[in-house]
């Protein structure tokens, strides 16, 4: 790696260093907002690790998030806290491998709705199993994790997922994913093991989602399958990542931050017309920001490049 290759990782770490001390100065309300932003930032970036380059849109986010939340609910009081997160990661990885292998023949919208159906199946089965064998449908999560603790864990996860994404992008795996995204048949014929590539990145992506679930669970005191496996999470992650631009590593974050701010502004100032205003905002965004925010940046770069010396490289 040349010196230039270190720019992105260093930038990520620098940003983390800047953001880390915030809990010491910011009030509880801002921390709550930041926790929400970070949660979706990690989820959306993890989502785009797989769904960005391959164009396989996954709605299974909630399934893995919920698995992590339930891991915390079950093991949080039985294991030392530091162990629960790796266990959650492991469980997420195992389930993701099974899921990844099962979806290999699916593509397009069939893949999308398959992942949705899968998340719902998990929710139904967990509900039934809990009711029948656990004697309860909800679980109390009385784990002592402060909002600050959650913030720092999520920040750490964001750094990790960005670094992972950066490494994957620059590796053969990343190149294989892009090829799969362009034309999977051609990629296969070119000698890429599409199965291993897809499943590997799907597993990496899902593992992050699972750990986020484990981190967030204590915040809600009580989870049940409809809370932990809430499909809204899947849809919101999808929307935010698509809005920001799923092709770039930092794209999803560019979708998460403005949307989270938009949600907050609307919620705080127009709680009674939240729905309508949010919908209108979406429509405006879709029509005037057609390539996502990443597209806006690229256009901006294009304009500047043309105004300056040579043409900028065309956007992906």
């Amino acid at each position: 790696m040349t010196a230039k290759d270190w720019i992105v990782p260093l930038a990520i770490l620098a940003a983390a260093v800047v953001l880390a001390p915030l809990p010491l100065v910011a009030g509880s309300y801002w921390m709550a907002l930041l926790v929400n932003v970070l949660m979706y930032a990690v989820l959306a970036t993890a989502w785009a690790l797989f769904s960005g380059p391959t164009h396989y849109v996954s709605l299974a986010t909630a399934a893995f998030f919920g698995l992590g939340a339930y891991t915390m609910a079950f093991l949080g009081e039985k294991l030392p806290l530091a162990l629960v997160y790796p266990v959650a990661a492991l469980i997420g990885a195992v389930i993701a491998t099974i899921v990844g292998l099962s979806t290999l023949r699916l593509s397009g919208v069939y893949f999308v709705i398959f992942t949705f159906g899968l998340a719902e199946l998990v929710r139904q089965v967990v509900t039934w199993a809990e009711a029948k064998y656990g004697g309860t449908v909800g679980r109390f999560v009385f784990i002592d994790v402060t909002q600050q603790g959650i913030y720092w864990m999520l920040l750490g996860m964001l750094v990790l997922v960005l670094l992972t994404g950066f490494l994957v992008q620059r590796s053969r795996l990343g190149w294989a994913l892009k090829a799969i995204g362009e034309d999977e048949t051609v990629a296969r014929h070119a000698g890429i093991d599409t199965t291993v590539s897809k499943v590997a990145v799907f597993v990496i992506s899902a593992t992050f989602m699972t750990v986020v679930g484990a981190i967030m669970a204590p915040r809600w005191t009580y989870i049940d399958p409809s809370i932990a496996f809430n499909p809204i999470i899947s849809f919101q992650v999808l929307i935010m990542a698509l809005l920001g631009g799923a092709a770039r590593l930092y794209g999803p974050i560019l979708g998460v931050v403005p949307l989270a701010i938009l949600f907050e502004i609307l919620q705080a100032n127009f709680p009674n017309s939240f729905s309508i205003l949010l919908g209108l905002a979406f429509l405006v965004i879709v029509y005037f920001v057609p390539s996502g925010i990443v597209g806006l940046i690229d256009q901006g770069r294009d304009v500047l490049g043309r105004a300056g010396r040579r043409r900028a490289h065309p956007a992906e």
Binding site: S107, G108, Y110, F114, L121, V125, W128, P231, V286
Partner: protein
């Protein structure tokens, strides 16, 4: 007889599922719009039927005559105004799907917001044609039987329409290959808009009919959208008959699970069945091979 009860109630439930999904089959299958706001229109039609029944005493059957044309026009307009720009600028079918997901997500919130503003969030329910009917030794509710029966009738009528008429063939051409359709003189946009509107008429019909027996509120649209998505994909995109069969299978599975397995697993079995069918036939029961 017990088994007859179970099978019949399963088929009726399945017919209702199919009815709920049929409009989306057209909207997504032909117009290629992944309409996440679909369920909101179901609920809007349900509210319309409710208001007409409780305020003006108009039966839901008559309300169909109001709801369907209104929804056709509204959805046709939505396609022309909101969707055509997206269609025009989409560089690939995938891009259109992404755009339509984002746009209809916004539309979902707008419609839901309007319904909330008018009706609030409370549950709403009324009773119409809730009379027992004897069929082959089994007792079923007339309103549910009617809804299921209409689902079958509509599916057959639509399939005939798509297969046997010129307009239907044009619509199928647009559905199969929107890029090639203009080559044979088909105005893709016009037909896609028509199909989208027709899907709107169907979703209104489903909303009016299910309002006779369901309890609903302004926030329940997403439940219907999700159900419809499952049925449409399971049946195979663009295939009305597939949606009917998929719905019937799901309804039957639910009923059989409740009777013979464990009532708490009904929806789990539904989803498991859905996944299993996709694993065996990756483009749904009657879908064409993936592009």
């Amino acid at each position: 007889m017990f088994l007859v009860d179970v099978i019949l109630s399963g088929l009726i439930l399945g017919g209702i599922y199919a009815l709920i999904a049929m409009g989306l089959s057209l909207q997504y299958g032909v117009a290629r719009i992944m309409n996440l706001a679909y369920g909101e229109f179901t609920i809007a039609a349900s509210f319309l039927a409710y208001v007409m029944f409780t305020v003006a005493g108009v039966s839901p059957i008559l309300a169909l005559a109001v709801a369907m044309p209104a929804s056709f026009a509204l959805n046709w307009a939505i396609y022309r105004v909101l969707m055509t720009p997206l269609v025009k600028r989409a560089k690939s079918p995938g891009a259109l799907e992404v755009d339509s997901i984002l746009a209809t997500f916004g539309l979902l919130f707008v419609v839901q917001g309007i319904l909330l503003m008018i009706f609030g969030g409370s549950y709403v329910s009324y009773s119409y044609l809730a009379v027992p009917v004897q069929i082959i030794g089994s007792t079923v509710a007339l309103n549910r039987l009617l809804a299921a029966g209409l689902a079958v009738a509509i599916a057959l009528a639509l399939t005939l329409f798509l297969m046997r008429t010129r307009i239907g063939t044009a619509i199928r051409a647009v559905s199969v290959n929107p890029a090639a359709a203009p080559l044979v003189g088909i105005d893709t946009t016009a037909y896609a808009a028509f199909a989208f509107g027709l899907g709107g008429a169907l979703v209104a019909a489903s909303g009016v009919l299910v309002s006779m027996f369901f309890t609903f509120n302004a926030a329940m649209g997403v439940v219907f959208t999700m159900k419809a998505l499952i049925v449409v994909i399971m049946g195979g995109v663009g295939n009305i008959f597939g949606a009917l069969i998929a719905g019937l299978i799901l309804g039957l599975a639910e009923s059989l699970t409740a009777a013979f397995l464990d009532g708490g697993l009904t929806l789990a079995v539904n989803f498991a069945l859905f996944l299993a069918i996709l694993l065996i036939r990756p483009t749904g029961l009657f879908g064409k091979a993936a592009r």
